[in-house]
Each structure stands twice: as C-alpha cells, then as structure tokens.
Amino acid sequence: MNYAKKLLAEVGLEAERLEIFFLSSAEGVHFAEIAADMTERARQLGPNPLKKSSGVKPWTQMEVKE
C-alpha cells in the first residue's frame, strides 16, 4: 500500500485517494464508517483530475508476429 501511494504521489496525484482496510464480514458498522470517511475524503479532494480527457488517442497495442 505504501508503495502504491508512493507511485501515485510521484505522478502528482494525492496519495490519500488510496487506502486499505482489513475487516471481517461481521464488521458491518465499521465498514459503513470507513465507506462514509472515504466518501468524505474523496469529496474534499475533488474529482479525479485524470478523468478529464486530454484529446490524445491511446496508442493501441499491436499484434505480435511470432
């Protein structure tokens, strides 16, 4: 998780967009709290800036000749 956060930070994205939690299926209340916290965090950070299209077409993968 720390590695993935570092990768995002290098790119220029907020590392706080990513988080990992460990909880069992019996922890419904805890799950709901986490979901609410993450939603609030995402709201404060604003929309993902990568969603904005830059107009550059993706360079498609090619067929490889064996």
């Binding site: 290098e10 790119v11 220029g12 994205l13 990568l50 830059s54 550059v56 993968q61 090619m62």
Partner: protein
C-alpha cells in the same frame, strides 16, 4: 544476477519530454528477477507516465512490451514493429540491453530507464548484495570462496586493513557491513587452510578487468 534500479520518474520524464509515442521496453531475464524491469515494472512505469503526462497537460502515447532477453537480437525482433512505430524507446533492461536495442534499431534512440548497479546475490527478500565485480581473474579459490575484490571496500588482496573492527568494515556509515577479510579469516580457519592467509599476494593483474579496456570473448569453436 545483474541487478538494476529504476531511475527516478522525474529523470525518465525529462528523457521522454520531446517524444510523443514512447515505448517502454522491458526485459524478461535478470531485471525481471530483481523486480526492476520486467513485465510488471513496465506496466507500472507506463501507467505512471500516462497519468503524469496527462496531469501535466502534455499527454503522451505510451506502449508496453517485454522481450525475453534484451541483450540478444533474436528476442528483440519480436518488438520490432513496436520499436519502429515509436518516437523514443525507454528500455527497462540493464545497460547491455539498452545498447543492444540502440545497435539493432539505429534509426530510433533508446534511453535507459534503469541504473544498472552490479552483479549481486539476493540475500533475502528485497535485498541484493554485490558479490562479483567481474574482474576477469577469479581468486575465490584462495579466499575461502569469499570475494575481497567485490566485498572489501578497498578491494584488498592482503587484508584485513586497520579499519576492520570487531568484524565490521569502517567504511560504511551504517557500520553493519561485515569485513570480508574477517569473514575470509574465519572461513579459512574452518577449512583448516589458515596458512593461506599468510601468503603475501602480489599486486593483482588488472589487465583482464577494466584496465585492459573493453573486454571481448571470442570462442572460435562456437562461431558459425
């Protein structure tokens, strides 16, 4: 194995600044095993570059390809269409791979995405320690199988020096690197060959190493 580490993202971004179509070319051998330039690392770097260039408003077209062994022409042929279609290639191979691709596809510049750092042993998960300096004149038979060229900070042939303190080398700031000459002493003692440490070794012939310039092996029995 040959070990390498990825260059900082900023350095790679600077190298690709003038290109639009960039191919990230990985290698499936040594740098895959040391988690620096295999298929997975190619995918991570390509994603990072896609995101970073988009965020900075100069999005580039990034493709990914990994060949089995970038230091051999035959394997690189598999990536030929990708290479020819790119403005620039970022190689995630060791320095040998980068040069092989440049030589094989001279119409395109291939730049290094890794810093190649040596011939190392993976001593534990996530740790690689230099073991061989490829000096061209192996003396491991004389030193109990421990290399003082690669593992002694001074590459001494008649160690240890005065900086060996309680088995630790004085050179490294963290003071935890073992003195290889201390290790050689104990190893030779275990082997009952302690007399070897009393032999005075004359200065090493560095000609088979870098002092003779670029090295080349020619095996006439193997040539076609």
């Amino acid at each position: 194995m040959i070990v390498a580490q990825q260059k900082p993202l900023e350095e790679i971004k600077a190298m690709i600044a003038d290109a639009q179509k960039v191919l990230i070319l990985g290698c499936g051998t040594c740098v895959t095993v040391c988690f620096a330039g295999g298929e997975k690392e190619v995918a991570i770097l390509a994603s990072q570059l896609r995101m970073a260039t988009r965020l900075e408003g100069n999005e580039k077209e990034i493709r990914e390809f990994t060949v089995q062994r970038q230091c051999e022409y035959e394997y690189n042929e598999m990536a030929a269409d990708y290479i020819r279609d790119a403005d620039l290639i970022v190689s995630l191979a060791c320095g040998i791979g980068v040069q092989t691709v440049n030589e094989q596809f001279p119409e395109k510049l291939t730049v290094p995405g890794l810093n190649t750092s040596g011939l190392s042993q993976p001593t534990e998960q996530g740790v690689w320690v230099e073991r061989c300096q490829a000096c061209g004149d192996c003396i491991l038979a004389l030193t109990g199988g421990l290399c003082p060229i690669a593992r002694c900070a001074k590459s001494l042939l008649n160690g240890p020096c005065g900086g060996s303190q309680r088995g630790i080398c004085e050179v490294y700031a963290e003071r935890e690197t073992p003195c290889v000459w201390d290790q050689i002493y104990h190893r030779l003692k275990e082997l009952g060959q302690l007399d070897k440490i009393m032999d005075i070794r004359p200065p090493k012939n560095w000609h088979p190493s870098r002092d003779g310039g670029q090295r080349k092996i020619v095996r006439e029995d193997l040539r076609l």
